[in-house]
């Protein structure tokens, strides 16, 4: 037993397990210790050490018999607490789901389980995945393992981004080898950027949404959060696949994503959208983006300027579409079938008391915005209008992808900020997702790759966007960019 196992990636561990350098049980024990030692990050809502050990023992038994389930067999991972897990508390970071223990397993976590993955626990998140800093969780904020060396936030506790902040902090802090996330408007990619890890939002429909607690059904998509692009390819292969239980799950074959990492991007066309050079962009982010362009050019790709003319309207359209869908999806939390019930004099009174106490401020705000946008007299002016703008944004991408294979942009407009900042102005918080939301509206795959450090020593990510169901090209370019960036883990002042 040694702590030296925590820096391993999935591909390292796959090879190490294969060679018998260590067992799945040893890996699980190492991570359970790391998870317990890292509790001050508040990355986990529920630790499932017993399940982890049980599954690790089963994995070792399979290996001994020569029937390994695949590259994820024996890999210790964390699960965002938005995925329903059979007989394990599932909270969505909300008070309203107090004590909810599902009688079923989400398709994504069932796929991972069948692939032999070892669940360490359920990670913290913004309540119902609504947030960009992991500060709206009923279970408290998550701390980013990274600390700024210099600057105004030097030494302060930083946010991990959101909503998959617990997953990002767990992977970045070495408390899990990888984790699942979900992304509705940037919730995998932005925290990946803030925590210096890789985060992939697949094409809408690539991973089943069945059993994943719904936020906005036309946008939600599960994906891997990992230490490397190769790991993202391996883990996506285990998560993805057509599922008849989700009518929006795509009947698409799951390719060998890892095989796509050829290291060769000669002749590929990389689009640079001019509209993403927003006014007042942080010069550091601009410089990082320019470096990314240079890396891909040197690696043989052709750089092409593209135009996505409706970009500036994406956030506003998103903040109608997502809350509208959320207001409908969250209608089910009524104090009758699961979770919290706050008594009242009548049924209506009980509903109102339960939802008034059970939902936090940001969730209430979004339900109210959504209810308003869908209410009589405003439906056409807001909801239908936003859906029309969504069509324009998707058409922008369709047009751009006629001339390029992938698009390169920054992931987030800033590095991680200090806990307590940006909390009073909802609109300022929404701007964190300015570069990730358009991809979500169009349903396209996007990946954030750690590409460098800010002047204060904090990680910054670059985003690659691909064609629908072409995660292979996306991963191939991301792999080349990762090698060029030569990003290494060090958490700043803590190390």
């Amino acid at each position: 037993m040694t702590d030296d196992l925590t820096p391993l990636t999935i591909s390292d561990a796959r090879d190490g397990l294969e060679k018998g350098d260590y067992s799945a049980t040893e890996l699980a024990q190492t991570y359970i210790q790391a998870m317990e030692a890292g509790r001050e990050l508040n990355a986990f809502i529920t630790e499932t050490a017993d399940i982890a050990l049980e599954r690790a023992v089963e994995s070792d038994a399979r290996r001994a018999k020569g029937c390994v389930a695949g590259p994820m067999d024996g890999i210790p991972i964390a699960i965002k607490d938005l995925f329903c897990t059979e007989d394990v508390l599932t909270t969505a970071g909300s008070h309203i789901l107090d004590g909810f223990v599902p009688a079923y397993e989400s398709t994504v976590t069932a796929n991972l389980k069948n692939a032999g993955a070892v669940m360490l626990g359920k990670t913290n998140l913004d309540e119902f995945a609504m947030g960009s800093a992991n500060i709206t969780s009923y279970y408290g904020p998550v701390k980013n393992p990274w600390v700024a060396d210099t600057g105004p936030d030097a030494g302060k506790d930083l946010v991990p981004g959101g909503s998959s902040g617990g997953s990002a902090a767990a992977v970045s802090g070495g408390l899990a080898m990888a984790a699942t996330g979900t992304d509705t408007g940037g919730s995998i990619r932005q925290p990946a950027s803030f925590c210096g890890i890789t985060g992939l939002k697949p094409t809408y429909g690539r991973c089943s949404r069945w059993g994943t607690i719904a936020f906005a059904s036309s946008l939600d998509q599960a994906g891997p959060m990992t230490k490397s692009v190769r790991d993202a390819a391996i883990m996506l292969g285990a998560m993805a696949g057509h599922d008849p239980k989700d009518s929006t799950s795509a009947p698409q074959a799951v390719p060998d994503f890892e095989a796509a990492l050829t290291g060769d991007i000669h002749g590929l066309k990389v689009g640079i959208p001019k509209e993403y050079r927003v006014d007042g962009m942080d010069p550091e982010i601009q410089a990082l983006w320019d470096r990314g362009i240079e890396w891909l050019k040197v690696s043989g790709a052709e750089i092409v300027e593209v135009s996505l003319p409706h970009t500036k309207y994406a956030l506003a359209a998103y903040y109608i579409v997502a809350p509208a869908e959320a207001s409908a999806n969250l209608a089910r939390y009524d104090g009758v079938r699961y979770g919290l019930r706050v008594p009242g004099d009548s049924l209506d009174d009980m509903y109102m008391n339960t939802r008034g106490e059970g939902f936090g401020e940001e969730v209430q705000r979004r339900i109210l915005v959504g209810t308003y946008a869908l209410s009589s007299g405003y439906y056409d002016a807001y909801y239908i209008k936003a859906q029309k703008v969504r069509t324009l944004i998707a058409s922008d991408f369709a047009k751009a992808f006629e001339s390029v294979d992938v698009i390169l942009t920054p992931t987030a407009p800033t590095p991680a900020f200090a806990l307590g900042e940006q909390q009073d102005d909802p609109v300022a918080m929404y701007l964190n997702d300015v570069f990730t939301v358009p991809t979500s509206l169009a349903g396209l795959p996007g990946i954030s790759v750690p590409a460098g450090l800010s002047k204060d020593g904090l990680p910054l990510g670059l985003q690659l966007i691909g064609r629908a169901f072409d995660e292979e090209t996306l991963l191939r370019v991301a792999d080349v960019m990762e090698i060029s960036a030569g990003f290494t883990f060090h958490h700043g002042a803590e190390d």
Binding site: G99, V101, A103, Y104, Y204, G205, S217, S218, P244, S247, T248, A250, P251, K312, Y313, A316, Y319, I320, S327, G335, V336, R337, Y338, L340, R341, P343, G344, D345, S346, L347, D349, Y351, M352, N353, R355, G356, E357, Q364, R365, I367, L368, V369, T371, Y372, S375, A381, K385, A386, K388, V389, R390, T391, L392, D425, P426, V427, A442, G443, L444, A468
Partner: protein, 95 residues
């Protein structure tokens, strides 16, 4: 776009969320700021543009009309805040 207190009270009722009277005014301010920011969508001409409800397939798949699930009453009821005789229980709705 500015929302007043009464509008917020009405939306909150539609959404069945209890909002105390002293919270209505600040909430109206926050929601007005959000809706004001969203107002920028109106400057775009979207005449003749089809609304996009989902990036997925336009026609939903069909399957045979057969029971694929069931016999899990106890599993479903075990999360209920109140259950009696195999049913969800709620406050009295009929006098």
């Amino acid at each position: 776009m500015s929302l007043d207190k009464d509008t917020v009270k009405n939306i909150a009722y539609l959404a069945r969320i209890r909002v105390e009277d002293d919270k209505l005014e600040p909430l109206a301010g926050e929601l007005s700021a959000i809706m004001g920011w969203i107002e920028q969508l109106q400057e775009l001409n979207t005449d003749g543009v089809e609304p996009m409800a989902s990036p997925g397939a336009l026609t939903l798949p069909q399957r045979a009309d057969v029971v694929t699930d069931g016999n899990c009453r106890d599993g479903v009821l075990r999360n209920a805040p109140d259950a009696e005789d195999g049913f969800f229980a709620v406050p009295k709705v009929v006098e």
